[in-house]
Amino acid sequence: LETVPTIKKLRAYAERIRLAELEKCLGKMGDDIPKKTRRAVDDLSRGIVNKLLHGPMQHLRCDGNDSRTLSETLENMHALNRMFNLDT
């Protein structure tokens, strides 16, 4: 359970990046972006973020029934906190 706030912070970190890059992209594409394109671009940004986060997120949850131990999960959390500067 100690890792739950890290999940929230990592999600927020990635979402900030996603939105900033999405804005830049839409800005470059000009006005009158077709709805289909708008949607495809949004899906792209979510798809990349979600698939990249899947591994780390999974390894922040310690479900007990597999080989992932609590101490390993905490090590993952500390490493993510360091690498994404999530403590501040």
Binding site: V4, R11, G47, N50, K51, H54, M57, Q58
Partner: protein, 119 residues
């Protein structure tokens, strides 16, 4: 015409959200929700519910935010179409984290994580 109005309310709501004008965003999304329900447009209905959830969440009204984020899940259930669920699970978990209910948060994060690999 009505559909046009709905789209424009959703757009206004988004812009207010972006500018942190959360009360105004709430009103736009609330109107959009009613319109979408009248028009029986579940996709836009979900967008309005998500917007309402986000407006409340940013105001620190986490319990109310959870209600609207859960509405997205309920609409998905009703329509047999699960777009927006990943975000809803994540947002609900974020709210429970803020409320200090980490056990519940963990349960919703698990649902969120299970969906991250899907499209």
């Amino acid at each position: 015409p009505k559909k046009q109005e709905l789209i424009s309310k959703l757009k206004n709501g988004k812009n207010f959200l972006r500018n942190q004008q959360l009360d105004k965003a709430f009103i736009e999304f609330k109107n959009a929700l009613e319109l979408a329900q009248n028009l029986k447009d579940p996709i836009e209905e979900k967008k309005a519910a998500r917007g309402l959830g986000a407006s409340l969440q940013r105001q620190g009204k986490y319990r109310d935010a959870i209600k609207y984020h859960s509405m997205v899940l309920a609409i998905s259930e009703r329509e047999g179409e699960d777009s927006g669920n990943t975000e809803a699970f994540g947002a609900i978990a974020d709210c429970y984290t803020e409320l200090g209910e980490l056990e519940k948060a963990g349960q919703f994060y698990d649902k969120y994580i299970a969906r991250l690999e899907k499209d």
